[in-house]
């Protein structure tokens, strides 16, 4: 069965005054099967959000994209504008990080969802109103008929995020891109939202492209995980296995840096050095300067993401020396 | 007007910030064009008697034999009803125009800024009093108050300047007040207070310095409007009186014969337009550079 979403060799550069100013993504390969939840993890600046936005071609005008993004058999990067707009919000939708600013302050909440429904489903006011009420109920918002008449500023962050999810599942998409959906919420709320997402996913069978910087979160929620570093995928595989036995030094470092993994009384493990910015072009493996296992071959040529069995891939010369 | 506070903090930054502004301005083609234009205007003003082909006529000496001549070789802008060379009159007119505009702005700043700084810094009754006062002045439709004052004082350029300054000072008071308010509890002000620096000195040395940039930008933006206002007052007969080479007055002279001797009203009006345009463009560029949020 072919994948729902296939990202081949995606590269995204940002130009300024005609010249390339920064390379956000340097060749990403990812696959997502129907109904699957893929966690895309990395630190700030690793290119995870840019990758997510590329799927919908929602990057700013200064971005130059190359590679292939195939969704349901169609090449997204080559789609004409109007077909792309049909896709957005209907087959592929997105949940943003800050729900408070993602809604229009001068329109009632329900109206904004209705706009999307009327646009994609060709239905009228009455029908869209009923549909929106139904979806708001699905995301467990109390008293949907009344809530939908409220303005965004009259709702709490948690309620707004639920509404955002309602908008995302409005037209029953096949793929939902979640860009750090719980980062702006407190822990209890975050858990509730994730639980909601999980149950919705199981019920309706959509795939999730889950962008996050939190490895633990992603480990719980997702079926498979891909770890990004400096615009490349360094390791990917089934969530449970990968996080129990990481094969890439960076993944290992990320895991041991998590507070939960440390032993009480011992110092938190940090990864020495800094994440490379998009402005420099590393000659070898981007992680080499900070890697405990680095050798000569690591700095001369970057390792490719290669399958190592059991559905896992690693981009490291020394992955066996874990 | 948090923009003013932003400018204030931007200006409070090191001198490199100010050099950065000049550099940014140099790169903007519109700002460059406007500055060049205004530089030329200022040059014209300074060298007026030298550049004008008939400086005496520029000042008002008539030559009735040569009246109402269309633009030609001897008189590039033609002559007016009293035979005076229009080109010279327009050139000489740059002096009252720029001079009075500068006077209005300077006066408005001198009156408004100290009041505004005091109100914003001290707050309380002083602030309330100033707000009531500015409210009162600002409830007159703009220009109307100036027209009334100029008319009652007796039409003349000086009175027009005074009248305009009286209508304009509230804006600068408000501006200065906003800056002073935002800096009232700034760390460096608190530090100065702790060291025993008296209020007037704080105001003069610390607060004022931060207010300079927004005031300068506002003054540049206003300069264009002031030039228009002075021209307008003179046009109505409430400002300069003949034979002063005031552009507004000249347009008024040519008003009744605009269909036949069109040059008498056209060129002085063009002069007002060009100078106002220059100031507006420069003001825009300054605003863009200092507060990019305000809509590039």
């Amino acid at each position: 069965m072919s994948a729902l979403l296939e990202i081949d060799d995606l590269a995204v550069d940002f130009v300024r005054e005609g010249r390339v100013a920064a390379r956000a993504v340097r060749g990403i390969n990812l696959e997502l099967a129907t109904g699957e939840a893929l966690g895309v993890v990395g630190e700030t600046g690793c290119g995870k959000t840019v990758t997510g936005l590329s799927i919908l071609r929602m990057l700013p005008a200064t971005a130059r994209t190359s590679g292939r993004i195939v969704f349901d058999g169609r090449e997204v990067l080559a789609l004409p504008e109007d077909e792309l707009r049909d896709l957005r919000g209907r087959r592929i939708s997105m949940v943003f990080q800050s729900p408070a600013t993602s809604f229009n302050p001068v329109f009632p909440l329900g109206r904004q969802l209705q706009h999307v429904a009327e646009r994609h489903l060709g239905i009228g006011r009455r029908a869209s109103e009923r549909l929106v009420v139904e979806r708001l109920r699905e995301v467990e918002l109390p008293d949907p008929e009344r809530t939908m008449r409220l303005y965004p500023h009259e709702l709490s962050g948690g309620m707004l995020q639920r509404a955002m999810i309602a908008m995302a599942i409005l037209c029953r998409p096949s793929l939902l891109i979640a860009d750090e959906p719980t980062t702006a919420l407190d822990v209890t709320l975050a858990e509730q939202i994730l639980r909601l997402l999980r149950s919705l996913q199981r019920e309706h069978g959509f795939a999730v492209f889950f962008i996050s910087h939190d490895l633990d979160l992603v480990g719980d929620f997702c079926d498979r995980v891909a770890v990004l570093y400096a615009g490349r995928v360094v390791e990917s595989g089934p969530a449970a296995v990968m996080l129990a036995e990481p094969r890439h030094p960076y993944t290992r470092a990320l895991l041991s840096a998590l507070p939960r993994r440390g032993r009480p009384g011992t110092p938190l493990e940090a990864v020495p050095g800094n994440v490379p910015t998009g402005l420099e072009e590393p000659t070898g493996c981007a992680f080499a300067p900070r890697c405990p296992l680095a050798e000569d071959r690591c700095t001369s040529a970057p390792p490719h993401l290669a399958p190592i069995g059991a559905g896992r891939s690693v981009a490291c010369y020394r992955w066996e020396d874990a | 007007m948090s923009a003013a506070a932003d400018w204030a903090s931007a200006a409070a930054a090191a001198p490199e910030a100010r050099a950065g502004v000049l550099r940014a301005l140099r790169r903007d083609p519109v700002a460059l064009a406007a500055s060049t234009l205004l530089a030329l205007v200022v040059l014209t003003t300074l060298l007026a008697p030298v550049i004008a082909p008939y400086p005496g006529q520029g000042r008002g000496t008539a030559d009735v034999a040569a009246r109402d001549l269309a633009p030609g070789a001897a008189h590039l802008f033609g002559t007016d009803h009293l035979g005076r060379d229009m080109l010279s009159r327009v050139i000489m007119g740059s002096r009252p125009a720029l001079g009075s505009a500068a006077a209005v702005v300077v006066l408005a700043v001198l009156i408004g800024v100290p009041l505004g700084l005091a109100a914003g810094y001290f707050g309380g009754k002083v602030d309330e009093g100033l707000m009531r006062l500015t409210d009162l002045f600002l409830s007159f439709p703009p220009l109307l108050l100036a027209m009334v004052i100029a008319a009652l004082l007796g039409p003349s350029l000086v009175h027009a300047v005074v009248a305009l300054a009286i209508s304009w000072w509230p804006w600068y008071a408000r501006l200065a007040r906003t800056v002073a308010q935002s800096l009232r509890h700034a760390p460096f002000v608190d530090a100065a207070r702790v060291f025993g620096v008296r209020a007037p000195a704080i105001l003069a040395r610390h607060v004022l310095r931060n207010a300079l940039t927004p005031i300068l930008v506002q003054a540049t933006v206003d300069a264009g409007t002031v030039i228009l206002a002075i021209g307008s007052l003179s046009f109505l007969g409430l400002g300069s009186q003949p034979p002063l080479p005031d552009w507004g007055l000249m347009v008024s002279d040519g008003r009744t014969t605009v269909l036949t001797e069109w040059w008498i009203a056209t060129f002085p009006g063009l002069a007002i337009f060009v100078v106002a345009l220059g100031f507006n463009l420069l003001g825009d560029a300054l605003r863009d550079v200092l507060d990019p949020r305000s809509g590039r």
């Binding site: 919908l56 929602m58 707009r85 049909d86 896709l87 957005r88 919000g89 209907r90 939708s93 943003f96 600013t101 993602s102 229009n104 302050p105 001068v106 329109f107 999307v116 646009r119 994609h120 303005y151 500023h153 | 409210d135 009162l136 409830s139 007159f140 439709p141 109307l144 027209m147 009334v148 008319a151 009652l152 004082l153 039409p155 228009l228 307008s232 046009f235 109505l236 007969g237 409430l238 507004g248 347009v251 008024s252 008003r255 605009v258 269909l259 036949t260 069109w262 009203a265 056209t266 009006g269 063009l270 337009f273 106002a276 345009l277 507006n280 463009l281 825009d284 305000s294 809509g295 590039r296």
Partner: protein, 338 residues
């Protein structure tokens, strides 16, 4: 909301009181000879003295002030020294003509300025944007009286397309006057079915209205453009795009709704400009409105008229501000007037 309104009306009343006082003080404190103005150029000292007494100008200032205030409250705004008509009546008679100009100019500013600003923001740095920016900065830099003269010279003098002055041609006003309903020539002609009168009134209105509108169109276009640019960069617009909404709907419905408030404020301020702008336009086009009334009063030092018009202008200005504030509150669901 009512509470806020009440408080606002109260402060406005206090402000108006201040305006009246300031104008009164200015008019009396400054040396002038109202009696001489009243009589005219042939005034002799004996007559001046008599008229001064007749007009009550020899009384002490506070008494005159009190008398003036009492009269105002009763609706007596004084009598024009020059034309001898009651000030309030004089304003009322000339108001329709001026309102025609103001309303037309305001309509042009809104109907042209807003779309121009939106289009400029929609295509930033391209041709429409450049044209709108250049056009609007030209509009706000042009002296209104000069523009008026230029348009006169061009469209009337050179091209002969439109009449140069007046509100109605001599023929219409003398031979077949428009039936008087409201005093608004266009409206009355329309309602009365007087098509030639309508055409006459309309052709006379075009140039003055355009002249007066240039500045507000420029202001409105600029502010709309700036506000739209800021709104189009907001997260919620990005959300709308992400969900596939069409660009036209996003720009003209969603974004404009958010971008409108600063433009509304500018529209309110434009009104204030229009009040004094008519002085110049009416002079250039010989339009029989309040502007002419005011200009003559200023030059002749006809102080009852000056005070009356100043008061009238302040009332108009304050009312417009009030209206704008109320509208702003209705537009933004986050604002509650308390």
């Amino acid at each position: 909301m009512l509470y806020w309104l009440g408080r606002r009306l109260l402060t406005s009343a206090v402000t108006l009181f201040g305006v009246v006082t300031v104008t009164f003080v200015l008019a009396r404190v400054v040396p002038s000879n109202p009696a001489a103005v009243y009589i005219g150029p042939l005034a002799r000292p004996a007559e001046i003295a008599r008229v001064t007494k007749q007009l009550g100008l020899d009384r002490p200032l506070p008494v005159q002030y009190a008398r003036y205030l009492r009269n105002l409250a009763e609706g007596d705004w004084g009598t024009s020294l020059a034309t001898k008509e009651p000030v309030l009546g004089g304003i009322a008679t000339r108001l329709p003509a001026t309102l025609e100009l103001i309303v037309s100019a305001m309509a042009l500013a809104i109907l042209l300025g807003i779309p121009l600003g939106v289009i400029a923001a929609r295509f930033p740095a391209r041709a429409p944007d450049v044209l709108v920016r250049v056009g609007s900065v030209f509009g706000i830099s042009m002296p209104v009286f000069w523009l008026g003269l230029l348009l006169q010279a061009l469209f009337s003098g050179k091209l002969g397309l439109l009449p140069a002055t007046s509100r109605l041609s001599l023929e219409t006003s003398v031979l077949h006057p428009i039936p008087h309903l409201t005093g608004f020539a266009i409206f009355d002609a329309l309602v009365g079915g007087d098509w030639s009168g309508l055409r006459d009134a309309a052709t006379h209105l075009i140039l003055p209205a355009l002249t007066l509108a240039a500045y507000p169109i420029g202001l409105v276009a600029r502010m709309t453009r700036a506000s739209m640019l800021e709104v189009l960069g907001q997260d919620y617009i990005r959300t709308a795009r992400t969900f596939g909404l069409g660009e036209r709907k996003i720009v003209w419905h969603l974004a404009l709704r958010n971008a409108f408030p600063p433009t509304l404020t500018i529209i309110g301020l434009s009104f204030a400009y229009l009040l004094t702008g008519t002085f110049f336009v009416e002079l250039v086009y010989d339009w029989p409105g309040i502007g002419q009334f005011a200009t003559n009063a200023l030059l002749n030092l006809d102080y009852p008229v000056i005070m009356g018009i100043t008061l009238f202008g302040a009332i108009g200005f304050l009312s417009t501000n009030l209206l704008v504030d109320v509208l702003q509150a209705r537009l933004d669901p986050r604002v509650r007037l308390t």
